[in-house]
């Protein structure tokens, strides 16, 4: 009897000390599969979180620099002429660099997530324990998604905040172009998530980390190309016409910061002609061409700036639906065939 008591107490002491040791240093105590996935990928997760923190700090600092300048022009009610000495370089450079992040994060974080375990055999080790494979896959995807969403949301919010004082003008970053559209609001989060989860699926199918990274790079670039075609078709195109001829100041009035998709000559019969179709060598020849075609004015297709937010959310929800589809595929496929 006394022996049994002794054994029990020793056992619980060693367990308690181990538990205390594990919880030391961090307020949050993970357990079970969450602990394993965090421990296995903690280097990647901490790198991402630290990089996001530094990026946010830089973006916030840049915003302060810009606000200091704009204060000289009466921000938040900007006086005219603020554009003349405005330094566009930081915003343009940041937009260019941030645009690469979905590709970089997707290639570095996605493929190793499962391919690493399949390559080294540790998938067998984990699956020989008492936890189901669905749980394992779901935890891997879930924790990675959480870290990516936190990081991308923070960076996107900081960039949006920086750009917002000047975003309603067409002077700094065109809102419908990648630099602004893909780096603000929900779009960078969705683009990064889709690239990462796509990389996870590619890694699972190829079972080789390095090869999967190369293929994921191709996937990420293809996604960016496809997205560039989708972007403007997310909005409702508005067509406006004018009937004042095509001379100086004859263009129809557009709302501020409208994104012009295309301009056409409008003929008397209501047909549209490409605006380059009367590009003649002389003014006289050009007018003769216009008269012959009976051009009476302009027809302009544009998307107003007011649609930006709804376009971003529509696009992001399409990307997220694709992401969810791929994640479901990873779990269903992996449940049966992995290892």
């Amino acid at each position: 009897m006394s022996t049994m008591t002794g054994t029990g107490s020793t056992g619980s002491t060693s367990y308690d000390s181990a538990a205390a040791e594990a919880g030391r240093g961090r307020g949050l105590r993970l357990s079970g599969m969450n602990w394993l996935v965090w421990r296995q990928h903690r280097a990647a997760y901490w790198t991402l979180l630290a990089a996001a923190a530094v990026t946010v700090a830089v973006l916030v600092y840049q915003r302060q620099q810009m606000i200091t300048y704009l204060d000289g022009y009466g921000y938040p009610h900007l006086k005219s002429g603020w554009e003349e000495k405005f330094d566009q370089k930081p915003l343009n450079a940041a937009a260019g660099l941030l645009g690469l992040l979905p590709v970089v994060i997707g290639v570095l974080l996605g493929p190793p997530l499962l391919a690493g375990d399949l390559e080294t055999g540790t998938a067998k080790l984990v699956n020989a324990q008492s936890v189901s494979r669905v749980r394992w896959l779901a935890t891997k995807l879930g924790m990675t998604t959480l870290v990516v969403v936190v990081c991308a949301t923070a960076v996107s919010a900081a960039f949006t905040w920086w750009w917002s004082p000047v975003k309603s003008t067409s002077y700094v970053l065109t809102w419908a172009e990648p630099g602004a559209f893909d780096n603000s609001g929900p779009v960078p989060v969705a683009l990064t998530l889709l690239t990462v989860v796509g990389g996870v699926a590619i890694g699972m199918l190829l079972r080789r980390t390095l090869l999967a990274m190369v293929v994921t790079l191709g996937f990420a670039v293809a996604l960016q190309v496809a997205w560039s075609y989708v972007r403007t078709s997310l909005g409702n195109v508005i067509t406006v016409t004018s009937h004042n001829g095509v001379g100086d100041n004859s263009q129809p009035n557009l709302p501020d910061n409208a994104y012009v998709l295309d301009e056409f000559y409008l003929t008397a019969s209501g047909d549209l002609m490409g605006w380059g179709s009367c590009a003649e060598a002389t003014e006289k020849a050009r007018n003769a061409c216009l008269d012959e075609a009976q051009v009476v004015g302009w027809s302009v297709d544009y998307i107003p700036f007011s649609q930006m937010a709804s376009m971003q959310w529509l696009g992001a929800s399409i990307l997220l639906a694709l992401t969810a589809g791929i994640a479901a595929f990873v779990i269903l496929w992996g449940r049966k065939r992995l290892v």
Binding site: Y15, S31, G32, T120, T122
Partner: protein
């Protein structure tokens, strides 16, 4: 627990593994075909066969790492993918995979976090017996130390069925002896069923009381070691011009080898063997295994205690 009739009227014990027509096909062809057997609970079973015979495939199916292409396999009456079966089964893969960047303590913690019945003390004891420091990274350990940690993870799970794929291949004789001792003591104490694939016939002789022999993806022999030995006989005699005595044909001949004027046959007697023109003896395990592995055309022998009907009978 569940028990099954053995069909031949053997004792109705609990089956640790019960396979009915299990087969697994890869792109290159069948790795395992038409395997039907039962492994009674509480046995230490050796799984023997040449390289590529399908041993790892069979274990992987029992460990829920692979799904069989045909047939069904049950672990203590439950499907391998069921929560009950995964909890009761531990699998040590041949390459002993571990996370290289984890410390030994973290590796054991993984076992604790992922297994409800984890026995930290048993796992730590195995690690400490090899003087493996708990704070060492797995990547810095020697092959033998790593195997020891992998063993500790499998033992710590407190499984009812322990599947070991070539567990001792990279251990020195001393460590092998010590770990084998631990294994047998644990198994005896807790009634653990062990299925262990190995190439080392000497290891089998000392440890295993049950045997499964696979060659070419098919089950060649299954049963208790003593039962299998005593149901065979080695006959040694003099041949005349390469022809063995005609009386040999009354029995099922597994293999005949001649050297000089002598012939040696391993047979399955279909009647009394005494009195023929030969000396009869009971084969040892090594003779028996070598004969079966060398003669793929010999008819398989599934002993009553391991027999199941190939098709699943209605429950």
């Amino acid at each position: 627990m569940m028990s099954y009739e053995t069909g031949y009227g053997g004792p109705a014990e609990t089956s640790a593994i019960e396979a009915r027509g299990v087969g697994r096909k890869y792109r290159r062809g069948w790795a395992l075909r038409d395997c039907s057997f039962r492994l009674p609970a509480g046995r230490i079973c050796g799984l023997v066969g040449p390289n590529g015979a399908g041993k790892t495939t069979l274990m992987a199916i029992a460990a829920n790492l692979l799904a069989p292409t045909t047939g069904t396999l049950r672990v203590f009456g439950a499907a391998p993918e069921s929560a009950e079966a995964t909890r009761r089964t531990a699998f040590l893969a041949q390459e002993k995979p571990l996370f290289r960047r984890f410390t030994v303590a973290e590796t054991l913690r993984m076992g604790r976090e992922l297994n409800p019945g984890w026995d930290q003390r048993a796992a730590e004891d195995i690690v400490r017996a090899g003087n493996v420091p708990l704070d060492a990274k797995i990547g810095t350990l020697s092959g033998g130390q790593r195997t020891r940690v992998a063993f500790a993870v499998s033992f710590g799970k407190r499984p009812d069925l322990l599947l070991l794929d070539e567990p001792m291949s990279d251990l020195d004789p001393l460590v092998r002896h010590e770990l084998m001792g631990t294994l047998l003591a644990e198994a005896a104490e807790r009634g653990t069923t062990v299925l262990m694939s190995t190439h080392m016939l000497a290891e089998l002789e000392n440890t295993c009381d049950y045997l499964l022999v696979i060659a070419g993806g098919r089950l060649r022999m299954a049963g208790e070691v003593d039962e299998l030995r005593t149901s065979h006989a080695v006959l040694t005699g003099v041949h005349s011009d390469g022809r063995t005595p005609p009386e040999l044909a009354y029995h099922t001949v597994v293999e005949t080898r001649t050297s000089g004027r002598q012939f040696t046959s391993l047979i399955r007697p279909d009647g009394p063997v005494a009195g023929g023109p030969w000396e009869a003896s009971t084969p040892n395990l090594e003779e028996l295994l070598l004969a079966y592995l060398r003669s793929p055309e010999a008819p398989p022998l599934i002993s009553p205690s391991s027999y199941v009907a190939p098709q699943a009978v209605a429950a």
